[in-house]
Symmetry: C2
Subunit: 217 residues, 2 copies
């Protein structure tokens, strides 16, 4: 990336992390922790090998990423975020929240990974009944299932399987998000191709918070 050559904090940030793929590389490192080159590649469908190598060098010299030689039996190079790189997390979170309304409009040929969805869900969904008993629901979509847990007012989502979920939603990621975001009525879920099992009142507890709803218009 050529510099904007402005003495402006925004422009200086974009000089470092505004290049194509750069923030998506940071996303992968946030989600996966220390990662091998090959794992990053796999989490960035469409990136070319040379560009990933270029970007990792740039990020390293910008102090955002560090590289570390893992000892045997791993015996490979691991890339990880520096503390400075970790501080990009709020930027990513704001962009994810801002981008959420775009997840409703369909996009052609889009790759889906469940850990991307899990992060977005965790940022957008609140528990309407913080004092009720904890619940777990499982979303069967993307490249692997997603567990959403609500307990004591906090909602956590991650790729993985649930032990005994109160409910499961199965289908395409898009309508499932529509249901969770409250843009598709629970009663309409089956009609848009979301297969529902278990206690749907558990799903009804999970809804966007006030600020998130504002973004969804």
């Amino acid at each position: 990336m050529r510099s904007y050559e402005e003495f402006c904090a925004l422009a200086r940030s974009l000089d470092l992390v505004g290049g194509r793929w750069t923030l998506l590389i940071v996303r992968e490192l946030v989600l996966r922790g220390p990662s091998r080159y090959t794992d990053l590649r796999q989490g960035l469908p469409g990136i070319t090998s040379n560009l990933l190598a270029d970007r990792l060098r740039e990020l390293e010299s910008a102090g955002v990423v560090s590289r570390r030689e893992a000892p045997p039996p791993i015996a490979t190079t691991l890339y990880e975020l520096t503390p400075r790189g970790e501080q990009l997390r709020p930027v990513l979170e704001d962009l994810i929240r801002w981008g959420m309304p775009l997840m409703i409009e369909p996009v052609a040929e889009a790759a889906v990974q469940s850990n991307w969805l899990a992060w977005a869900i965790e940022l957008m969904i609140s528990d309407r009944e913080p004092d009720a008993a904890p619940i777990t629901i499982e979303l069967r979509t993307g490249d692997q299932p997603i567990v959403v847990e609500a307990r004591e007012g906090a909602v956590h989502a991650r790729a993985g399987v649930a032990e005994e979920p109160e409910a499961t939603l199965t289908g395409e990621a898009q309508p499932i998000l529509g249901v969770l975001l409250g843009l598709i009525d629970l009663g309409q879920a089956e009609a848009v191709g979301v297969e529902c099992t278990g206690d749907m009142s558990a799903v009804a507890r999970l809804r966007p918070g006030l600020e998130q709803a504002a973004l969804l218009g």
Copy 2:
């Protein structure tokens, strides 16, 4: 910008606002409000006319910017952020905060505009003595002076002239920021080329808050 073709809120955001110059155009619209094409150009040194026109079209079709024909006597086209565009503000603010440490390291040939600096200062500086009487300081740097006001715990900064400032700092933007951020001791200010007048204890009241200091390492 070619789409990343990922079903990921971050990637979808970057599809719309991740292109070169795009977030800087949004910055200008946040700082200036509804603006003419020529004003935007002037606030974006180095952008070429065709690219600005392209980006404005893209942002318009993305629902971030709207264009409006102003009635006489202005009789020109005004560009402004839509509510959806306004919601990018947190993204910009996080990027400004993250980029602040980069303002200390010098960059060659950088353009400076005082309204960029004012926004950054407002985001990074707190009033250590919220209960004390209001103070105003003036920074003479950039393309015009900057007024920084602290009253009732809130700090506001804007391009403009102060009526009767308690203190003024005059010089290059970089060392002035260094002083305000507490990275250069007040006693060293003159030594790094910052001319100080008035009551320097007023300047000493203004310092990064806790979270901001964390970013500055």
